[in-house]
Symmetry: C2
Amino acid sequence: MGGYVYFFAQNRAEGSAKKRNLLGGKGANLAEMANLGVRIPPGFTISTEVCRYYTAKHEYPDDLEEQIKENLKKVEQATNRRFGSRQRPLLVSVRSGARISMPGMMDTVLNLGLNDASAEGLIQETNNLRFTYDAYRRLIQMFGSVVLGIPGEKFEELIEKKKEAKGVQNDIELTGEDLKELTDEFKELTEKEKGIEFPQDSSEQLRMAIDAVFASWNNKRAISYRKINKIPEHWGTAVNVQTMVFGNMGDSSGTGVGFTRDPATGEKELYGEYLINAQGEDVVAGIRTPQPFSTLKEKMPAIYAELVDITEKLERHYRDVQDFEFTIEKGILFMLQTRTGKRTAQAAIKIASDMVEDGLIDKKEALMRIDPAQLEQLLHRRIDPQAKLEVLASGLPASPGAATGVVAFTADRAVELVEQGKKVILVRTETSPEDIHGMAVAEGILTARGGRTSHAAVVARGMGKCCVAGCGAIKVNEKEKEFKVDGFMFKEGDFISLDGNTGRVIKGKISTLKPQLSAEFAELMKWADEIKTLGVRANADTPGDARLAREMGAEGVGLCRTEHMFFGEERLPYVQQMILAENKEERKKALEKLEPMQKDDFKGILKEMEGLPVIIRLLDPPLHEFLPNYEDLLVEVIELRMEKTDQKQLREKESLLEKIVALREINPMLGHRGCRLGITFPEVYNMQTRAVFEAVAELTAEKRSVEPEIMIPLVINEKELAILRKETVRIAEEVMKEKKVRFEYKIGTMIELPRAALCADKIAQQADFFSYGTNDLTQTTFGFSRDDAEAKFIPIYLEDKILTDNPFEILDQDGVGQLIEIGTQRGRKSNKNLEVGICGEHGGEPSSVKFCHRIGLDYVSCSPYRIPIARLAAAQAKLEEDMVQEEARGR
Amino acid sequence: MGGYVYFFAQNRAEGSAKKRNLLGGKGANLAEMANLGVRIPPGFTISTEVCRYYTAKHEYPDDLEEQIKENLKKVEQATNRRFGSRQRPLLVSVRSGARISMPGMMDTVLNLGLNDASAEGLIQETNNLRFTYDAYRRLIQMFGSVVLGIPGEKFEELIEKKKEAKGVQNDIELTGEDLKELTDEFKELTEKEKGIEFPQDSSEQLRMAIDAVFASWNNKRAISYRKINKIPEHWGTAVNVQTMVFGNMGDSSGTGVGFTRDPATGEKELYGEYLINAQGEDVVAGIRTPQPFSTLKEKMPAIYAELVDITEKLERHYRDVQDFEFTIEKGILFMLQTRTGKRTAQAAIKIASDMVEDGLIDKKEALMRIDPAQLEQLLHRRIDPQAKLEVLASGLPASPGAATGVVAFTADRAVELVEQGKKVILVRTETSPEDIHGMAVAEGILTARGGRTSHAAVVARGMGKCCVAGCGAIKVNEKEKEFKVDGFMFKEGDFISLDGNTGRVIKGKISTLKPQLSAEFAELMKWADEIKTLGVRANADTPGDARLAREMGAEGVGLCRTEHMFFGEERLPYVQQMILAENKEERKKALEKLEPMQKDDFKGILKEMEGLPVIIRLLDPPLHEFLPNYEDLLVEVIELRMEKTDQKQLREKESLLEKIVALREINPMLGHRGCRLGITFPEVYNMQTRAVFEAVAELTAEKRSVEPEIMIPLVINEKELAILRKETVRIAEEVMKEKKVRFEYKIGTMIELPRAALCADKIAQQADFFSYGTNDLTQTTFGFSRDDAEAKFIPIYLEDKILTDNPFEILDQDGVGQLIEIGTQRGRKSNKNLEVGICGEHGGEPSSVKFCHRIGLDYVSCSPYRIPIARLAAAQAKLEEDMVQEEARGR
């Protein structure tokens, strides 16, 4: 065999950027730069194949040593230096370099090639005792700790002692002589600790360093980093052996790092920092403050011009922003590294947009460049990244955004405090429908119990408010108006802050940043819309949501949850009346009160969405969700019983309790809800349907174009749908007759139970459209109650890799996705005009959106703030599909 | 068109038994009897086609009248009588006759053809004034009520008046003259009520009667009967017009009904009753007591011999027990009807067995003759069918059987009462694990709350005890030790009885009958085993269950639920200790106490099942099921808090409450249970696995042949199974080493979530066997929580025909069945040796068992008492398959 080692030097590299898997990111980019004619310190890369070989067999390939020797010779020729020689000694570094950068996780050894003899030579050559011994003592220090495993602090102790002895504060104040002494002391330490001399044979140094760097692929740090970042173990690392260049050889030397554009804003200007007379680690150490490039332009105009030239070339070549490192050794510029620069979402958009303008990339490539998930950053209030935070605890990131305010423990108190002009965070053990008015005025909501589908979470997302839910670490005492967390006690009026993106609960006030959408953002979204074929609709429950959704680019409402309207403060009493009604008459009376309110809601939403379809889902959750909390009431009743004072109140509460008990269920998720309610209590659905159609009729009479679609939730078979469809049609006809207008409408169903997907052929005969309710479909397909699962075992499943992703965040394509495919195929087979989409939170998650495109759905529907994410993901899905097809044609 | 009317007379019938759909059951059997040479009163059948025609078009086919006329002429010729004539008048009856008998649901008119003239003729012919006017007044009475719609009680009133006027008690005491007067009064009544004369034109009478009988297909009674019995409306009824014969023409006349064999016991002897000088309705009216056939043999030996002859012929012809009616008119025997006789399960078996012995049918036919579901009757204690019952209320039939005893309201009290020698019915609002010792001693269990998967139901079924659950009509006051129902109050010690087969709660003591299995039963089961290819295993949790299962013919244990062992009185404290453990150490300590107990359980079961496979499922339910009831504890804590006396107890209870709160789940069905527990708390599964393997090792050392199979519940993917498989193998190896024996075992999984079925190809690579948990699979596929659904909406769904059957009783082949097929195909594709079965209650339900056979499963597993049902159903499934294949070959 052969070909384990790849040489590189300016204009002469054996590798290239395409060989990234073999050479690692660093090695591949060095080769690529070299071939572009960029000046880099010559060297060679030992491929990842060797790492795999070594991991498997615990030895190296036979001819590896020979190949290294040959390549070292080429480096010597290229640099006109000799490794380990007194005369013009060649110094090299040995660094790891995996396919994907794993910063700081693996080991590095610098200055290899120094020994007592070559040090002497270097002093002569550089005429710089201090420089030489600084380099030498660094080599022994790094070699000692990395290769030989001597604890680093033992070397540090010696340095400290030396500084004390010399009466100086900083390393920099140590003289060449001091460092020479230190070098000897380091050698002694090495011998004392490991019983061997620091090797004077440079080849031995190199061999041992390469060994150590390969071995560092399997150190603890690296393994756990790979686990977190899902990097496969079998990738292995490459090892780069490269000529040392020194930025610390006086004032014509220096070192720096930069970006070809501003990685925070995307502005098109060289951006970076440098230090004169310094090595790379000095920039990192932070003792001296690096200077901006503007001063480099003044101080070293030629170097700066060369740098601009090279980096522009690199950007043009790679067609993307570059993150680069360089060193200036005695007036000569060496590039050390270049790679694609990480950037904020804002910068990503600006850069992509500018590059399209400059003709560097086309619109398609621009769209592919943006990570859709990253857009979330732009769409919500967020914590100022500059802010220093004191994190108290973490809960579930239940609704994104950031909020800061004073604590209130009851909804009423929240309202009072807001009336006093304060910003409020509502803190509850868990919220219930009675807290709605408090939630409505609060900046954010924090609960101790409940998952991401808890009342607090669902309502907060609906309101677009930041919410951290299920934060078990906080102990709320609502009676005493205080909560404890992490040893702190918070009272009403104390400031706290929430990070709804991460679930963090933060002490005190923090500053938050408003979302700002740039012109480039709008442009990019326009391009996405031009390309994508998948529709994007919004989940919107109020006219406000609908307006926002339209601003975000929604092409309709894919899910309007009518029950969210039931939680309104002025409505809940009637909803409760309706539920607790003893007979049909009483129920009807309460419903008559609700109908005009619902009609107004629907009018508002339909008006906002004029010209676009609006899917309105009839009541879905079990009725007891609208009633007072059972346990609280139970406690009250017992207390009243024991107090024996207020018999009348006791009897009332007992009677209420009895009704709530009758409505309670063991597994409410799988209970009396959805169309099951519609069938057993037809009055409720009839009221809702009537409210929709009256709204439609009135708007139609106003010559507004509205497209209502009535959606029946939770069906198991076609018969349920047939019954409810008939009722819906009857009411539509009634309303048209009464209001003397004609209007069009559709009737469809949620597919959110496995049985519905499996029997979709029959169901489709009764449906104009299907909408997959992926939340419930995930719950039933997995047998996971989201609230329970996310609190109790999904985190463990993710850690143990039993699950790759949380299926409530990222659609489970293997299981749930299969049902969606089956349902869609069968449904369309029996009803060619069937419109098919998904609603549920997956509709705004990029990989899930792409899946929906691939299996040919008509649209996805997601919360308003996720619409841009879905639009971009949909465009990318189309582009990826085109690429696959082109490739297939090419073959 | 033609052929609406089918003539029949002895040896000359146009129809046959094969034309049942066209002629109805009655008409087809009359034709068949006629063609067999049996003497029947001549007549004709108007086909069901006419009923359909009439229902659709509200008129009769054009030539129907003509066909009726022709056939009436044939009847006249056959009887040598003339319809409506004074001379030898022909009297006919008009009766309905649907494909399936709908006794008493539709109308009948007798004695048509009588008018003033023919009555005179009949008097002359019979020399019997009383007979004639009795017949005539009956005609007017039936015609008036059935055809004309005059309320029947108006005729009855006139009869009562007449009796009063004549000073007699019974109709029979009225003389011929009295009846003649009554006939005139009836005519007047008819005219007064309907403004028309009773028609003297016999053809008019016939036309109107036929009309009325066809119309009665759509009377309320008939419609609701069809609904209950699932008879399609489009079947329609036929109408039979038949010569009247009279059993009330003196002592050489009579009428009777009988069975060719005893329908209760199956004994092979003519069985029936008759009355001399009486009409059929007299037998029904119950004024005179009918005589057994034994006296007929004495009194009319020739007639009896002829009857024996005819009925034997009929039985031989139909090859099944016949239920027949006959009339003797002046010494001449006429058969009026024959049909397959209904019989008890016991009789069905005896008859089938005897007929095989007699060579009348073969074993296969015998097997097909028995309704598997009917076997349930034989296998449990049941209420004496003779007993008069005062039913108080109905609950869910949660566990079959019958029980009688005194009421106890607590488990402790139940134990005390049993110790006093009493039989006890435990009555609770709902049961919890703490009631187990009371349930164990009780005869039966009655609960006010909870469905058929409630604690009470599951435990009772496991114990083979009668249970009525969720009987909402009873209001239990456990503190006062009383319950109210239907206006009655029951105290401790009062007698009640339960019918676990129907859910009835009965006042007082009743006598119950023991199950008795005959030799014929055993024989039949042997035949079933010879034919069936599907295995039948048992769900058995204890050695006692296993023994019973083996007696019932189980070929192994398909499901041993280890958690049921956890509920034992001496175990529960350790189980609770394990759950409430603060750390691994504490948990291990509790588990160490449990391990030897579990080992003994397993040894017991494995020993009972020596030579047969035993599938042991590891812990499945959520842990909080083993803890005290949350609400009870909450109430206790609040009471203690308010009393402020016992602070120590309060603190203890509070701490327990806190732990229970932490374990509570919103939807426990979809929560932290099954293998999710096994993965997050490996100690529990490890204890159980070790207990199994130690049991196996010890039995193997005793040279016993045992076949353990470890089953992992509730998997969603192959990774869970891989992890737990590895652990299981590790422990097996450990135990083999420790105990110095080798043994074989299998590791498999329950498939009870849609995802598992959909991803069965991957899961099968880690599994030796699959067992479909159809209860949970039904719950998740439908999104039905069984407890909630059966209480709240399944009854409505069944009534509205949204569901044909309760999917928890009869496997939903369309939805759940699809998943089972998919899972089985995919599983076997990737693992050719995969063994596949179902457990869950469907395993003992005949149609579900047949489905399992059809899709090629290896076995079903059900509760011990249902094993015979499953064996028979499996045999029938095989026979049905063979028939289909034969037919296919024939074509």
